[in-house]
């Protein structure tokens, strides 16, 4: 059973990479973001662009000197997020959020958001498929 599961996991992984990237790359990440510039951002949500082709989450980050810096984080499409149980209701203005991602090549304060955590420790956009979203595969 273990071996079968491992094979299936690899299969899914390869499928997601081999099938999803060409179809999914309606833009190319490497054109915009730098694989050598990972970034950790902690801040509060100031604005949401809940739009296609990508949701953008704007975050105020407090710098050591106390000043504020605004970052724009690229997320998935509203439709995919909806199917994961995520709507903009979950990220009201002022929500504290921690983001791990890759920053933009051009040095601007933009990043491709990969993992996001809320202040209560909940991992948003990440982790088990069992988020209870309407479309998640049943366990």
């Amino acid at each position: 059973m273990r071996a079968k599961l491992a094979a299936v996991v690899v299969a899914i992984g390869l499928i997601l990479v081999s099938v999803a990237v060409p179809a999914w790359a309606h833009h190319s990440f490497a054109a915009e973001f730098d694989a050598n510039k990972p970034v950790n951002i902690k801040g509060t949500v100031t604005r949401l662009e809940w739009v296609n082709p990508h949701v953008w989450i704007h975050v105020n980050v407090k710098k050591p000197d106390g000043s504020l810096e605004n970052w724009a984080i690229e997320a998935g499409t509203p439709n995919t997020l909806y199917r994961r149980g995520i709507t903009k209701v979950l990220l009201p203005i002022g929500t504290e959020i921690a983001i791990v991602g890759f920053s933009a090549k051009d040095g601007s304060r933009r990043a491709n958001g990969r993992d996001m955590k809320l202040a209560d420790g909940r991992s948003l956009f990440l982790g088990s498929s069992g988020t209870g979203a309407p479309y998640d595969p049943k366990k």
């Binding site: 599961l5 299936v8 995919t80 994961r84 051009d106 040095g107």
Partner: protein, 350 residues
């Protein structure tokens, strides 16, 4: 043929036809319960529009995790069972809790991807190929595509710095919010919305919200000199099946290497309230050594997402207005120029 022999043959044929009719009549009642099973041959009758056409209207979900073509020998098998798929996803997304892999911007969180569901019992969407794969390209097509610079966003994105983007023309039509794929229902295109009017069927998809307007009045195709981003559609009914032929594509768009000589022949058959069986035959003798065919169902999206779901899951795709990614790609390319990282290659601008 002698008279007597002819009589026997005709009588035999008559008996055979009568027997078949009787069998199909008897089979009709239980077959209705299993109408979804047979591709294109069903005893469930779709409701009619007020003007009498079969009603295919609604928002349909055509996303499937099952790939277009079978993996090559030696590559891992495709999951064909829903239960295994759910477990596999759980295992996969656990892995995404791991730290970012520096140097690999393609580690885009699986959360963002359209997982779709597994097309039960199927290892690929292609149905007519002995090896389950897209047929080989002709030598002509290989030479043509080698000369034809592939736009950066046409597959393979995420591997390198993806530079030498001189301008928007070096990005794919998808990235520029201009046009989706020629065959739009696989991958992320997959939420067709079908609307009907007397003499027309219109199909829009989620991404870039292009509308394919299909006249049913038998008018001829446009002249070959007129090329359109989504080709030129002509439709007719064969029984309860909508048959659509699309020609007049443009070379500005590539469908796996096929361009202006591409022809699509599609069949849409609603086999139960929640399923449309879809087939597409893809032909381009200047690109592939033979035509190839995919078949997969469309699912009723409203039913999947709940009473409000079909609208809540299908948001407006006002693509240009939200397209920060394109300006990001352009300024990223200029940053690469400054850093001396730009790779030289042919421009796609024409």
């Amino acid at each position: 043929m002698t008279m007597k022999y002819r009589f026997l043959v005709l009588t035999g044929a008559f008996i055979l036809v009568a027997a078949l009719a009787l069998v199909s009549l008897v089979a009709q009642a239980p077959a209705e319960k299993n109408a979804a099973k047979t591709n294109g041959a069903t005893s469930w009758t779709p409701p009619r529009t007020p003007w009498g056409d079969p009603d295919l209207q609604g928002i349909w979900n055509a996303t499937w995790r099952t790939p277009t073509q079978r993996p090559r020998r030696g590559e891992p098998a495709v999951v064909t069972d829903e239960e295994d798929a759910a477990e596999a996803i759980d295992e996969l997304v656990k892995g995404y809790d791991a730290p970012l892999k520096q140097g690999d911007v393609g580690t885009y969180n699986a959360f963002w991807r359209e997982w779709g569901t597994v097309l039960k019992g199927r290892t690929e969407l292609i149905v007519d190929s002995p090896d389950g794969r897209i047929p080989p390209m002709t030598k002509e097509a290989q030479a043509r595509e080698a000369r034809y610079p592939r736009q950066r966003g046409e597959g393979g994105g995420g591997g390198d710095r993806d530079s030498n983007t001189r301008g928007p023309e070096d990005r794919s039509l998808r990235e520029r919010c201009l046009s989706w794929d020629a065959q739009p229902y696989t991958g992320h295109g997959g939420f067709p919305r079908i609307v009907q009017a007397p003499g027309y069927v219109v199909i829009t998809i989620l991404r870039i919200h292009e509308a394919r307007i299909i006249p049913l009045d038998g008018r001829p195709h446009l002249p070959k000199s007129v090329q359109q981003l989504n080709g030129d559609q002509r439709g007719h009914w064969e029984g309860d099946t909508l048959v659509v032929e699309t020609t007049n594509f443009t070379d500005k768009k590539s469908y796996d290497g096929a361009r202006e000589n591409l022809t699509l022949l599609e069949r849409f058959t609603r086999v139960d309230p929640n399923t449309i069986n879809y087939e597409v035959t893809i032909t381009d003798p200047t690109t592939w050594v033979r035509p190839w065919k995919m078949a997969f169902p469309f699912r009723n999206a409203a039913r999947e997402f709940g009473p409000d779901g079909a609208e809540a899951g299908i948001t407006e795709y006002a693509c240009h207005e939200g397209n920060h990614a394109l300006t990001g790609a352009l300024s990223g390319a200029r940053a690469d120029d400054k850093a001396g990282l730009t790779k030289k290659s042919a421009s796609n601008a024409r």
